[in-house]
């Protein structure tokens, strides 16, 4: 994926929102750089915005976190990705692993549901980091104007369960990779 990506691309800002741990943040940064070939800046950690909390659902509205991020200025960055520990939801969905607007500048990913399977069993740290990296790559690709993909082993495939996530490779399908390269080139021009 790195081949053919222009070097003039501005970096992506990575923000820890809540106590995720240094290793998790570095794993995500390394994967973003390695798979997408975009430079990543580790920005100052940020508090979880209180206005995103939904009392009746005991979850945070991912859309409101994006709005909170968008209200800050990141002029030197391609976009920003916040990594958080809180459980995320949206007005229509009971939960989301992450959220981003297609072609926007902000994304958020939660680790809350990735440490265990749906049956409650805890997964290894390696598996957990892998899941975190996959969801992060998926959401950042949305920032880069990528849509969902029908191929069930592509990182742009929509996954609603952890075993779906585990089925994905850490790579985009050939078609998505091609579109991604074009979109990145457009961002640079």
């Amino acid at each position: 994926m790195k081949k053919g990506i222009p070097r003039t691309l501005p970096p992506l800002g990575l923000i820890e929102m809540g106590r995720l741990g240094e290793v998790a943040v570095r794993v995500v940064a390394a994967n973003l750089q390695g798979v997408l070939g975009i430079p990543v800046d580790l920005l100052q950690p940020m508090d979880i915005p209180t206005e995103s909390f939904q009392e009746h659902r005991k979850q945070h509205d991912a859309g409101l976190i994006l709005k909170h991020l968008a209200s800050r200025s990141f002029p030197n960055h391609l976009g920003v990705l916040a990594l958080t520990t809180v459980d995320l939801c949206s007005p229509i969905l009971t939960y989301v692993y992450g959220e981003a607007e297609v072609g926007g500048t902000t994304a958020v990913v939660s680790s809350h549901r990735l440490r265990s399977n749906e049956d409650g069993s805890i997964v290894s740290l390696g598996r957990y980091y892998e899941r975190l990296a996959k969801v992060s790559l998926h959401e950042v690709a949305h920032i880069l104007s990528m849509f969902h993909c029908e191929k069930d082993d592509c990182l742009m495939h929509y996954c609603s369960k952890t075993h779906h996530l585990d089925r994905l490779g850490i790579a985009f399908c050939r078609r998505c990779e091609y579109v991604l390269k074009k979109n990145l080139a457009l961002r640079c021009s």
Binding site: C89, S90, I92, H142, Y158, S160, K161
Partner: protein
Amino acid sequence: MTGRIKILVVDDELIVRESLVGWLKKSGHEVSGAEGGRRALEMLGEREFDLIFLDIKMPDMDGLEVLHEIKANYPESMVVMITAYGSVQTAVEAMKSGANDYLMKPFEPENLALLVEKLLQQKKILDENLLLREHVATRVRCEDLVGVSPCMQQLFDLIEEVAAVDSPVVLRGETGTGKELVARAIHSRSGRSYSPFIPINCGAFPETLLESELFGHESGAFTGAVRARKGRLEMAHGGTLFLDEIGEIPLKMQVDLLRVLEEKTFHRVGGTKEISVDFRLICATHRDLPKEIERGVFRRDFYYRLNVIEIEVPPLRLRKEDIPVLAQHFLERSRRETNKPIMGIQSPAMELLARYEWPGNVRELQNAVERAVVLAKGRHLTRDDFAFLLRTGGRTVPQSLKENEKQHIDHILKQCGWNISKAAGVLEVSRITLHNKIKKYGLTPPVP
């Protein structure tokens, strides 16, 4: 369902609407939002939607009421009702009224993803079915293009050659020669065969109606245009547009069509949105277009744009060897349709068909056989079953002197109730001569 899927989200809660629109857009669908039932119906009047998410409880118009309107006016759109926790009973009622499914807010991510996938798959199958039905119908109709004559063999070869390219074709030929069948045959053998074949008879509409029929119209474009409607140009997208009787198109519309052919875009009547189209054009006319240009009723530039390939469809009188084959073909079809045990056409009847001039060409032959089959009493079609051809007003059937004599004697014998002396008196011949003639022509008295 060609191109992007069009989805409409109808919900009065902005946050729900925006969230669902945003989620669906991530899959690359074309998604719009409506804040209430009335707005949704307005939008449906303006454009088509493949899938509609419809909230049950809305202040301006009840979701069930909107559902009834959609099912009555836009039955091809699939509807998913959105309901809040506790109103499942209403959702069940909605299902009975024709909704395709329902979802309870907030949705389980997996349920939403699977439902959308399932409905889009259903929609795709329905659309494919429609196309296949069209395709099969086209193929069946092409079977009517029958002929063993050298000129028809040449025409078949030409159809194969022309089908492989995408250039406009002008079919020239008299009424009833089967120009539309030739157009369908070209379409069914072309790379566009899995897309629609859209025919329109330009001579069958007054100017204003023809414009709306071809270009479509937006709602309110003129009195009576209650809802937006696709025109034939739009319907033919990806396929073939067949303009029959092209010589009847008014001059002003010739300019509009020329523009569409050159720019591949147009506007609906009363519309501002530019619509892109890609179709193959086949035209047909019985007129001599160069003469029409001289008369000033057909544009020269339009003619040159259309007339890339010209095919002459021969009249039936110039391919008489095809008449027995065609007659047999139409007989078999009529026999199937009427369920009558007609075994064939007797030789004298076939001779009559072969000698007739067929001013109405193949269409007239088809009608003649159908009529004969319907009225036939025996197991074979006889010359009498086609007697109506001899009585066609103003049209003379070329016959030999022998044939005329035979018919005249038969007619007089019938008039005289087969009283030989009386008939011989009327014919002013001797009884012996009449007996000889009866024997010679094989005339027999009707069975009592």
